[in-house]
């Protein structure tokens, strides 16, 4: 029989099925019962089986022709099947058949697809095959990370159930093999394999112990010289301490209890906002550590020799960032432009020191030197580079998890299985969620049933006009506000000019007036999204996700244009002509502006939380007497977070301590938002697709926000002249020249490094290199998109193949049953004849 089948020859199924089925522990109750019933009724098991075998052999020889190519002769098979159906009226179409014989049932119950995850033997052999594949794969490239967490359906190696004569021994042997394979894998792979196995914890720990025991035995068996043994002990000790450190870190997870409470009441949608906040906190922490360690600390320890007196502390500094903070380690202007040296500090001639460039100072201690300009340049550059890499990596990982290649049907099925949010614990939220799912299902059903509702031309036109009006309102208001900000900033610029000439003004008043621009921008950021929501309310969208995307798009457009005009104001107006407003240090000024913007944004978020959520809830409960609380608008809040983070990234160059301010702001924001959400809001009523939205937010964080900030910073470093009297890059034409100058100095000191200098000159300064780099990048993207296309085609081919196999299976089983029935009826007739005689 095995000759005929086009299936894989690893399935000696027809032969195996005729033996008794594998003694499985978890054999399903229903089949057991059916088998018991049938055997009671029939009582002719052995005879049937033998006859079946003979019959099948005969049939096999006959049916070679048309069974050999099931894929191609589908039509022929179809009509043959139809003919058989007409012959045997009792044959049922689906495999939910009632009257299968015991033999058929035995075959059915031992099919590999029904034994997955049920019996221990099946699981062990399945994982044995997987570990073999993994070991073979380890010689080539792909890692197990693709294996276990990817979107692609897993590649299964079905266990060989064939050798069932000695089931106990077989299982033991398989177990041995599995343990062998496990110990040959690396530790992380082994751990991941063990975690993925659907066995009980007791068995997994047993397997692990056996694998480790063998390893130890193997190690101790060899003749190891004692220094290698010591090395092994050290490695093992380090590894163990590393694991215990990791578990300690995990147990210390920040805000774990708070997040659990929020998710218990509001579900994963609102939780994603807080997780995003946590992610931003870690980014800022990283930036702060890097800038703190490499910039702030050295400069704080070696204060510059020539610094003016600072005004006294008045409370306004916390808002404006000027005054007491102005000539401190917080801003760019404080940083020295020479190489800091530890032990030689000449107290006289402070003026001379500040304009020297760090060449020979007659100092004996060369080890403790620290080239400040280079440090500044490289720290900012490297931290941006690393942040960029981390962002792109998390963006691609998020994409891989949320967007699927073959995104066609299965909507309804997915809704049934996947839309329940298991994190929600509170009873009222659970009730809300089930109502939600109900509504969604009803909507989907309605959609499926009335798919072909055609809109008349009139209706389409009306919808288009409404959309057009809404978009016009949004774009017009955005443009209006942007132009307003442009002219207002110009007006502030003029004011500053007047102030600078008129020195009798109160300096505090002058500083307070600097707050005007941030306040205006924050008010615009607060009010305009409300207008966008109102405009969207009158529109009619096809689906709620489209509505969310449109809202995000409009919000994003507003924020990008506002930031764009502000950057132009700072880099184009202020930096270009700082003398006109009597600024000795324009970078300090820009840093202070960014600080002010950040603080104002925080204050206005607090006000929005207070008025939007707290007071609104009081009003609606007491005033309007409704039980409906305000809903937490996740998209808007996340976009606010992204805006704040963009400001922080823009400001790092000018204010190395800005990440610290951002960290404090995020910490406070977390507790305030959490308190407000728990007290004032209710769970969102609309469906929210969490992983897709999270991907979108990470993408927005990377592409407009981070890339925009790094473009601005690069532009500043590349082409704007730093101020001549403050900061680490004074008296250079651009900040970038610091790097060039360092390379020239290296070349001077060490002529063998001239290659480096020449390479530097070619690679970094020549724009041709950028074009080549961009070209290679585009080619790689194109290549990957072609691979994805090919995979899509393969998926559709495989689906077709699965359908065909299913047809084959149905055919074979019905055929088996019909043969059995044919065989049974003559014998019955015989026995009844016997009994009558």
């Amino acid at each position: 029989m095995a000759r005929i089948v086009n299936f894989d020859l690893r399935y000696p199924l027809m032969e195996a099925g005729l033996e008794s089925p594998v003694d499985e522990e978890g054999v399903h109750d229903s089949f057991n019962q059916l088998i018991a019933e049938q055997s009671q009724n029939g009582g002719l098991d052995a005879l049937e089986l033998q006859e079946l075998q003979r019959e099948l052999d005969e049939e096999g020889r006959d049916n070679v022709a048309y069974l050999s190519s099931p894929g191609h002769d589908y039509g022929r098979r179809q009509e043959r099947w139809e003919a058989e159906r007409e012959d045997d009226g009792r044959q049922t179409d689906s495999l939910a058949g009632e009257r299968w014989s015991s033999a058929t049932l035995k075959i059915l119950s031992s099919m590999p697809s029904r034994t997955i995850g049920r019996s221990r033997g099946a699981i062990i052999s399945q994982y044995y095959n997987r570990t073999m594949q993994l070991r073979r794969r380890r010689q080539s490239r792909p890692s197990i990370r693709d294996f276990s967490r990817s979107a692609r359906p897993s590649i299964r190696g079905y266990g060989m159930e064939g050798d069932t004569t000695d089931s106990e021994g077989a299982e033991l042997r398989k177990r041995e093999h599995l343990v062998n394979n496990l110990q040959n894998l690396s530790v992380s792979d082994r751990v991941r394999m063990l975690r993925g196995m659907p066995l009980s914890v007791a068995e997994k720990s047993e397997l692990r112990m056996q694998a480790m025991q063998k390893e130890q035995r193997r190690h101790s068996g060899r003749q190891i010289p004692c220094c290698s043994r010591l090395k092994y002990y050290i490695i093992i000790a380090v590894r163990q301490s590393w694991y215990s450190w990791l578990s300690f870190i995990h147990s210390l997870q920040l805000w774990q209890v708070a997040l659990k409470r929020v998710s218990g009441r509001f579900g994963t949608g609102v939780l994603s906002y807080f997780l995003f906040l946590k992610t931003l906190l870690f980014f800022n922490l990283f930036l702060f550590l890097v800038t703190g360690a490499f910039l702030v600390l050295p400069q704080a320890v070696h204060p510059p020799l020539f610094s003016q007196g600072r005004p006294s502390f008045s409370g306004l500094e916390l808002l404006t960032g000027a005054g007491y903070f102005s000539d401190s380690v917080m801003y760019y202007g404080y940083y020295s432009n020479y190489t800091l040296r530890k032990s030689c500090r000449v107290d006289t001639g402070g003026q001379n020191m500040s304009i020297s460039n760090g060449t020979g100072m007659d100092c004996p201690s060369k080890r403790h030197s620290y080239n400040m300009p280079m440090a500044y340049f490289f720290t900012i550059g490297v931290s941006f580079f690393i942040t960029g890499i981390i962002l792109v990596y998390s963006m691609s990982k998020s994409f891989g998890q949320s967007f699927r290649i073959d995104k066609s049907h299965s909507i309804l099925a997915m809704k049934v299985f996947c839309s329940w949010d298991f994190k929600v614990l509170k009873k009222s939220s659970v009730k809300l969620m089930s109502e939600n799912i109900c509504t969604q299902l009803k909507e989907l059903l309605a959609e499926v049933n009335h798919k072909h509702v055609k809109n008349t031309v009139c209706q389409k036109l009306w919808r288009l006009t409404v959309h057009g009006i809404a978009w016009t309102i949004c774009i017009a208001s955005t443009t209006g506000c942007v132009i307003g900000i442009y002219y207002f900033s110009e007006h502030m610029h003029q004011n500053l000019r007047l102030f600078s000439r008129n020195t009798h003004q109160n300096p505090l008043l002058k500083e307070a007036s600097m707050l005007a621009l941030p306040v205006v921008v924050s008010v615009i950021n607060l009010l305009l999204p409300g207008l966008f929501n109102a405009a969207a309310w009158m529109e009619d969208y096809d689906s709620p996700s489209v509505r969310t995307y449109v809202a995000i798009g409009r919000n994003l457009m507003l924020k990008v244009s506002v930031l764009g005009v502000l950057c132009y104001h700072w880099l184009g107006r202020v930096a270009a002509d700082p003398a006109s407003i009597n600024l000795t240090c324009w970078e300090d000024f820009v840093g202070q502006e960014l600080y002010r913007f950040l603080i104002m944004d925080f204050i206005f978020t607090l006000l929005d939380t207070l008025f939007g959520e707290f007071l609104w809830r009081l009003f609606s409960e007491k005033g309007l007497k409704r039980r409906r609380r305000p809903v937490f608008d996740i998209a808007r809040n996340v976009l606010d977070l992204i805006y704040g983070q963009t400001l922080a990234w823009l400001g790092v160059l000018f204010t190395p301590l800005l990440p610290a301010v951002q960290i404090l702001k995020l910490l406070l924001l977390f507790y305030i938002k959490k308190g407000s959400v728990m007290m004032n809001c209710q769970a969102p009523r609309k469906p929210y697709r969490v992983s897709q939205m999270t991907t979108i937010f990470i993408t927005l964080l990377c592409i407009p926000s981070f890339i925009g900030a790094s473009v601005c910073v690069t532009y500043t470093m590349w082409s704007i002249t730093p101020s001549s009297s403050c900061g680490p890059f004074r008296q250079l034409k651009t900040m970038f020249q610091a790097g060039k100058r360092w390379v020239e100095e290296l070349e001077k000191d060490n002529p063998s490094l001239s290659m480096l200098a020449r390479a530097h000159a070619y690679l970094v300064e020549n724009p041709f290199f950028l074009f080549v780099g961009a070209g290679i990048f585009l080619i790689v993207i194109y290549f990957h998109s072609q691979v994805v296309d090919g995979q899509r085609k393969i998926i559709s081919l495989l689906q077709e193949q699965i359908e065909n196999e299913g047809e084959d299976k149905k055919f074979l089983i019905t055929r088996l049953q019909s043969i059995h029935e044919q065989k049974r009826t003559p014998t019955r007739r015989l026995t009844s004849q016997d009994s009558t005689c």
Binding site: H28, D29, S30, S94, L95, A96, S113, R114, I116, G117, S148, R149, A151, P153, S154, R192, R195, G196, P198, S200, V201, T268, Q401, S402, F403, R404, D406, K407, H409, S410, L412, A413, M414, V416, F417, C418, S419, W420, D421, F422, K423, V424, L425, K426, K427, S434, E435, I437, C438, L441, K442, L445, V690, Q799, I802, E803, G806, E807, K809, K810
Partner: protein
């Protein structure tokens, strides 16, 4: 910590000392009083799936198994396997139409009319069933889940 939680479900049954591996089973009715499971519509099925005797009485090992699979960091494939077992009410290793109907009723708590329930089940099976036997085998289920990024627990 898990042992503490296990114990607080039935302090009179569970001893403090587990070194002799006593054979104690906490019955279903006590386990579903846990806050994580209390409002879960599938709590009975979840506990039954992890219990050795199939009726929902969990030994401590079963309890640990359950939490290790249900936690956030367990791999997705493991969750898929156990999810399939949980949704398979009649334990025939297929999710047939009746299983699906029961699932739907538990999810929506009887808010849908019976015709709607049948319609939804038919459509769902039509969408997800690949090999055409009108039931969802594990391969079908896994294929569908792999396309759904929101499969969480």
């Amino acid at each position: 910590m898990l042992h503490g939680r296990y114990r607080e479900l039935a302090p009179h049954l569970v001893p403090l000392d587990y070194t002799n591996n006593p054979d104690i089973r906490v019955p279903l009715t006590l386990i579903i009083t846990m806050p994580e499971l209390k409002e879960n519509p599938f709590r009975d099925r979840i506990v039954e799936t992890f219990s050795e005797d199939g009726h929902g009485n969990l030994t401590f090992n079963d309890f640990v198994d359950m939490f290790s699979v249900l936690c956030e960091t367990s791999p997705r494939e493991l969750k898929t396997i156990y999810a399939f077992k949980i949704y398979d009410f009649n334990r025939d290793n297929f999710i047939c139409k009746e299983d699906l109907e029961k699932t739907l009723n538990k999810l929506t708590k009887g808010e849908l009319t019976p015709e709607e329930v049948t319609l939804v089940c038919d459509k769902a099976i039509e969408e997800a069933d690949l090999d055409g036997d009108n039931k969802l085998s594990f391969a079908d289920f896994e294929n569908m889940i792999s396309k759904a990024p929101d499969f969480l627990r």
